[in-house]
Subunit: 349 residues, 2 copies
């Protein structure tokens, strides 16, 4: 198969983890006779410097024309005080919106070999759930501003039935292929948007009699994720709560650096590790490439390349079993570099 | 001193934990020559049944006239599907607003004797921070509703400079008496209200040169609370984020049942455990009374009764050292009943 992939290396450790991912994807392509064409596009601080915008039109067009986007990470403290719309993060939000990537999928899994979590070991066996986070609506994209002469600020959280239905359907379909449970996380005892979520999701659940649907308030969910993570299969939630819960869940795995994500729209999609740009690690060859490589594996699955995906996942698992790991997930005396991890996985393939 | 205390026992385990708390407060009163007058007031499901409202005017007036309110907990699954404004929780929100209790204080501490937390032990030594949660503003109280023929729902998050200043001042003053650090938790890379919080709090910090101020995004904070809880002293945050972080933090301590809170306004105040009504435990004499008793201790401090507060805290600490604990925090074969814990503490005093 021929696939055109837009590549946004971005800031901080982005270029390093993308480099390993492409190396690995190329081995897959050779082995299975695919043709992956990569096209680099600028975003984040480099785009601010060159085009005066964290997400230039050119990049957006490039992404819209491709079969998928592979995204490193963006964010640079140098630009944190830029005006609104001109910070690296604004670029990411703009791209999500322009590509209509309403469904962010964040799998949470634990490698038992790799016990670096602050949580007691016995709680972690068999932790395996997936967060379905709505990504183009809610308080992130509602009207926001100042009023009363700047004395007040506001953010509007708004959701339509259609928005909720679209991601809801995806979550139920995913649950069918897994442990058949969907947990809707909201704050329906306080928020009207949450009450709409409950209504819509409850209605969808009638079409999925085999799926067990339950509801948790966000405050309770933030406890259960740590105390009883095995209770979860698919967590379905809005943009803001999904942001919080997915980072919190990463604590179970011991490192943000391990976790991939896929952002899916009706026609477009993007794959990015959930870690940020981690500027302190830039250029040191210590960044964990696995979050990005596993995002690549989610991309293979999206392409329908199931055998390819399985082989890549197996290679990652093997690298961990053999303790070829960066220092965020292993004793630093025994650790490997970013490059070494990438090479090991490439050679395994 | 004479103090008039409104008492709302509420639903579920509320009456049981309040009973132990009053027992203990009465011992304090006798020992130090105070006169505590209690006046019961209805709220929650009992008020719905009797007055057709989860927070009758009579209760509000009673609370407004008292020196402080001692609150058990409200919430009953039977009324979860009541119309808006008629659920037990709505009563609590109404009371907070009517009493203008804008500053919710939730201390997080760990008893080392009592290791029931899912977190590794070595991370928990010296965990000791306090959450200052804004309680009468933000998305909880902004305009909310439906539009477009019910196709869309919205919640308005709004904050004024004055609202932020008031709780901000309290947080900085508290930090002066502690480890001299304030962490503002927000989502300033996305929300305009968060940006207003940063501006106002940064300005206040100029008046407190001895206090170290730092900023964390809510997604990062939800990780740091588990991975590195010792980094916190005072966490200052808005209503929604405070709701999530305080429940999440309770995981460190091993039980929600242990944790107290104070809700303070300019003239009025209320003291309540952070646990909910826990209907499954009702009437079984197994509810942990310590969250409520320690809320009573925060009330003593609010009254300026420092010696009294210290003695009560010492009594609680001693009960834990002696392992006189309810089954949520100790092996159930060795556990004591709600009543036994209350009696032990009373007798210690
Ligand atoms: C950078 C930021 C705007 C972004 C978000 O909040 O969505 C990030 O935290 C994430 O989760 O992808
Ligand atoms: C019952 C609910 C409305 C309340 C809140 O969200 O404030 C509770 O969770 C709390 O934290 O006191």
């Amino acid at each position: 198969m021929i696939k055109n992939i837009s590549v946004i290396k971005g800031d901080g450790i982005g270029p390093e983890v993308i480099k390993q991912t492409i190396k690995v994807l190329n081995s897959i392509a050779i082995k299975y006779g695919h043709d992956f064409h990569y096209k680099n596009a600028l975003a984040g601080s480099k785009a601010i410097e060159k085009f005066g915008s964290p997400m230039p039109e050119e990049t957006i067009n490039n992404c819209l024309k491709s079969d998928a986007v592979l995204f490193g990470c963006i964010g640079d403290p140098k630009y944190d005080h830029n005006p609104i719309g001109m910070r690296p993060e604004d670029g990411l939000l703009k791209l999500r919106k322009k590509m209509n990537l309403y469904c962010n999928i964040r799998p949470i899994f634990v490698f038992p070999e790799l016990y670096r979590s602050p949580i007691k070991k016995e709680l972690l066996n068999e932790v395996d759930f997936v967060i379905y986070r709505e990504l183009t609506g809610g308080i992130y994209f509602g009207k926001k501003g100042r009023c009363k002469n700047g004395e007040k600020a506001y953010d509007y959280c708004i959701y339509s039935k259609t928005e909720i239905e679209k991601i809801g359907e995806k979550a139920f379909k995913a649950a069918l292929l897994r442990k058949k449970k969907v947990t809707l996380v909201d704050k329906a005892n306080v928020l009207e948007t949450s009450r709409l979520w409950r209504e819509v999701i409850q209605k969808i659940s009638l079409d999925y009699p085999d799926i067990d649907l339950d509801f948790l308030y966000i405050d309770n969910a933030s406890m259960q994720i740590i105390m009883n993570p095995k209770r979860f299969d698919i967590i379905l939630t809005d943009n803001m709560f999904g942001d919080i819960l997915s980072d919190e869940s990463s604590v179970l795995t011991g490192s943000l650096g391990l976790l991939p994500s896929a952002s899916i729209g009706d026609y477009k999609s993007m794959f990015e590790p959930i870690h940020g740009s981690y500027p302190q690690a830039k250029g040191k060859n210590i960044a964990n490439p696995l979050g990005c490589i596993l995002s690549g594996s989610m991309m293979l699955e999206y392409f329908g390349m199931y055998k390819e995906k399985n082989l890549l996942d197996e290679a990652v698992k093997n690298s961990i079993e053999k303790k070829i790991c960066t220092p965020d997930i292993i004793n630093s005396k025994l650790s490997s570099t970013t490059e070494e991890v990438g090479n090991y996985i490439k050679n395994y393939i």
